[in-house]
């Protein structure tokens, strides 16, 4: 069975190569048959890689330990959900899975654009197939998941225990879907440059295909944070680990791109910049993958490292060379169509937004690479840890919050001083109220006061936009305010959905602010002993040990009271995994929107006492709430509108007369936009 997978992978490599060749030749000769053949080859790559992934999965599920990957990453005692997840738990399997996710995206692009963007599609297909080709090559020659051992071991070594967590089972696929998907907007940009069709149609396609991976990437990062919070047991959800940064940087670039694309759509400006930003976003995903998997930086994610570094370096260099030379060739065709009427305009606000988002990105990149550069040039091994990142990123993110709130208060083209005054009055008042409330209620750090004040500013500015939209609809249609609100959200998904995304960012920032005033305490408790932490009383009730297949568990039971009132029983655990000789912690959390009481069992002294680490983490639930709202509002924003549906219907109708449809839609859709 495993040979079927290997054979399918070989065929997928050939098919991907053929797709590149057929598409480009088809476009050059204007041979529709060849172009279609290239597209069909992309669908075939999907089928073949599905077979490949299926066969590896089969080997994992049937515990075929002769396959080295199965032996290394699973064992008989693992719960079934983690056996399933071990497909992406190790380096070789995850590279195969990565390639498969890419083939899903590529096939979707082909199927959705059978009759749209026809002038761009051959180049889009060749770009995506080229990327697939690279991954198949990696899988066959560097990270072969189908390699077999000369004998068949009785049991495997098992998945890294810290990865045996529900969030960790779904975090990688979601993050991959985010990282891989950034190749689609890049392919559309390359398609525009290669075909010379540099109007806004590529941008429309790229924007839609950017929103999907952008949402996945945001959700994947937050899931990773949730996993770290629950499983790694250091009381936080973000530690500026190089690999966290590697997935955060493309998200920042994509966020900048989502905003700057709007200027090109509306005003025909920033054409070159948008190209560069698409390149950069995609480049950051490849670079991030390289960082994670090459072992260049030391990281908590070191379980996914191997000798793939040089391949990535060559791939990045070749891609960058092609992209930059194409851009240089097309520069004369990428002139701005408009001019700036006033500095007090949305255009300026968006430029500043790009400036600060990329400023944050480069600061993170610098902090991540500084130790690598220092070791390379001076031989000194230095650490750039959380204190550096926190002190650099915090002031910058305050600036970002300010712009998030201020941007919508500026009109496109120009805003008169009088309307500026009018627009800013309410948000500034809201800032003053939230900042002083924060200062009065808690004895906060200055940053926390500024941050919460700015959260109030953004909330008020978004609220004002909603109120004005509602009022406008109420006056023009006579609808009630509530109906007007749902009407706005339903009709103008992009504008108002985008504002709800801004609200989710506020919730996240409220949660981040909590990090500034948390407390922690290490304490040793004897059986039956009670200690106070602020207004909590915690009592150590008992400790028990148990042996389960492959793992020894120590679990403590503690009761938690506040001002005499019983809150809950906390059950922190400490586990020892025999096969990997590794200790892990299972934290116990009493969670409210005000704060988390977060308790870790550090160790059992064996004499009736145990050591605990306790964190009072304020506002952490706001982060998770913000994350859920982020995903929902992003989905809402990209959900097809009535116009999209009519466009799709027109595409379907054109199936009846494909020749006509192709003539009609050399670039863009069948419906003029």
């Amino acid at each position: 069975m495993i040979d079927v997978g290997y054979f399918a992978l070989c065929l997928a490599l050939a098919m991907a190569g053929y797709a590149v060749f057929a598409s480009i030749l088809g476009a050059r000769r204007d041979d529709e048959g060849l172009i279609r053949s290239g597209e069909n080859a992309v669908l075939a790559v999907f089928g073949l890689l599905s077979t490949s992934v299926g066969s590896l999965w089969y080997a994992i599920l049937t515990h075929d330990f002769q396959v080295e990957y199965v032996y290394e990453n699973s064992n008989l005692s693992m719960p079934i959900q983690y056996v399933v997840a071990s497909l992406w738990g190790g380096q070789n399997g995850s590279v195969l899975f990565w390639g498969w996710v890419l083939s899903v995206y590529s096939s979707a692009v082909v199927l959705f654009n059978r009759y749209r963007y026809r002038a761009l599609m051959p180049y889009v297909v060749s770009g995506l197939a080229g990327y697939s080709f690279f991954f198949c090559l990696l899988n066959l020659f560097v990270t072969d998941p189908f390699q077999q051992l000369p004998f068949s071991p009785a049991d495997g070594r098992g998945l890294n225990p810290i990865l045996q967590h529900p969030y960790m089972a779904i975090h990688p696929p979601i993050l991959y879907a985010g990282m891989v998907g950034m190749s689609v907007p890049f392919a559309f940009a390359m398609g525009a440059l290669m075909s010379g069709h540099l109007d806004n149609s590529w941008l429309r396609a790229a924007r839609r295909w950017l929103l999907i991976p952008w949402t996945f990437l945001g959700a994947g990062n937050l899931l990773g944070g949730a996993w770290a919070y629950l499983e790694l047991g250091w009381g936080g959800y973000w530690g500026w680990d190089p690999v966290e940064n590697a997935a955060f940087m493309p998200w920042l670039a994509a966020t900048a791109l989502l905003h700057s694309m709007m200027i090109q759509e509306r005003k025909g400006m920033l054409k070159v910049w948008n190209m560069i930003l698409v390149f950069f976003t995609y480049g950051m995903t490849v670079f991030g993958t390289f960082l994670t998997r090459s072992g260049v930086v030391s990281s908590v994610h070191s379980f996914a490292q191997s000798n793939v570094g040089p391949f990535f370096v060559v791939f990045m260099a070749v891609t960058a060379l092609i992209a930059i030379s194409l851009l240089v060739v097309r520069l004369p065709q990428l002139k701005s169509e408009n001019h700036l009427e006033s500095l007090a305009s949305r255009e300026t606000a968006f430029l500043l937004n790009n400036w600060i988002l990329l400023g944050i990105l480069f600061a993170v990149l610098w902090g991540t690479l500084f130790p690598v550069l220092s070791e390379a040039f001076t031989g000194d091994k230095i650490t750039v840890g959380a204190p550096f990142f926190n002190s650099v990123i915090t002031p910058l993110s305050m600036g970002l919050l300010l712009l998030t709130g201020a941007g919508p208060l500026f009109a496109w083209r120009r805003t008169s001083p009088a309307s500026l005054k009018h627009n800013f009055a309410v948000p500034i008042a809201a800032t003053a109220v939230t900042a002083s409330a924060a200062a009065l209620l808690y004895e906060l750090h200055a940053y926390a006061i500024i941050s919460l004040g700015l959260c109030g500013f953004v909330a008020a500015s978004v609220g004002l936009e909603f109120y004005r939209g509602m009022r406008s609809r109420h006056h023009s249609t006579g609808e009630s305010y509530l109906r007007a609100l749902t009407g706005l959200l339903a009709k103008s998904k992009r504008r108002y959905g985008g504002y709800v995304v801004h609200l989710s960012i506020i919730l996240l920032f409220v949660g981040f602010t909590g990090q500034a005033f948390g407390t922690d305490r290490e304490m040793v408790l004897r059986y039956g002993e009670t200690k106070r932490i602020r207004d909590y009383e915690v009592t150590f009730e008992t400790l028990a040990h148990s042996e389960e297949p492959g793992v020894t568990i120590s679990a403590a039971a503690l009761s938690l009271h506040r001002q005499g009132e019983f809150l809950c029983t906390l059950l922190p655990e400490r586990r020892f995994y025999h096969s990997s000789e590794q200790n892990t912690t299972e934290v116990a959390i009493y969670s409210t929107f005000r704060e988390d009481f977060y308790l870790i069992l550090v160790g059992d002294a064996g004499d009736g006492s145990a050591m605990f680490q306790i964190y009072l983490n304020p506002l952490v639930n706001w982060v998770w709430a913000g994350g859920i709202l982020f995903v929902l509002s992003s989905l809402w924003t990209m959900w097809p509108t009535r116009r999209d549906r009519s466009l799709a219907a027109a595409d379907r109708a054109s199936l009846r007369d494909p020749a006509l449809a192709i003539r009609q839609s050399v670039v863009g859709s069948t419906v003029p936009s």
Binding site: S299, N338, Q515, T641
Partner: protein
């Protein structure tokens, strides 16, 4: 708008300079009764080198291989009357500069801090030059500004906001 940008820039710079970084606490004075917070203050300058965590802060890591015994060592040093700087120096002498949570003082720390600032500065210069070039491209009649344009005069009233909104939405819907 110029003022706003300037004000914002000044605010960002000022907050970076004036406000202490959030993760830092004040200098600890050695006292007779030692609190866990005092140990954590010193430990927050250092990272854990156990190898199984991502160089986490020594103040928060819970590994028994490195963090817990090293925190106890900091406690002993504090009781012996050693200051924060002295303890940190001893750690550097024992484990090398990689035990420091931030790049070591001097050249490293300077480069570490100045690079992000320099990148931001370059960025704002680029943004400014883009804005200037966009302004310069403006057709002649529009650059000689005197009377407020009808749009800006009208957008003070509610009704024009509605028109503007309608225009925006029509132009902007996908």
């Amino acid at each position: 708008m110029r003022h706003l940008i300037l004000w914002f820039f000044a605010f960002a710079c000022a907050s970076a300079v004036v406000l202490p970084p959030p993760a830092h606490a004040a200098e600890a004075a050695p006292e007779a009764s030692l609190t866990p917070e005092q140990i954590k203050e010193v430990a927050s300058d250092l990272v854990c080198l156990c190898g199984s965590c991502p160089r986490e802060s020594l103040a928060t890591c819970i590994c028994t291989a490195f963090a817990v015994p090293q925190r106890e060592a900091i406690g002993r040093a504090l009781t012996a009357g050693q200051g924060r700087e002295q303890i940190v120096e001893e750690f550097v002498a024992r484990f090398g500069v990689m035990v420091l949570a931030e790049p070591p003082p001097g050249g490293y720390r300077l480069v570490g801090w100045l690079t992000p600032a320099a990148i931001l500065l370059v960025g704002i210069v680029v943004v400014r030059s883009v804005l200037v070039s966009w302004r310069r491209r403006a057709p002649k009649p529009e650059t000689t500004v005197a009377p407020p344009s009808p749009a800006s005069a009208a957008d003070r009233t509610g009704s024009s906001y509605e028109e503007q909104l309608k225009r925006d939405l029509d132009a902007f819907e996908n």
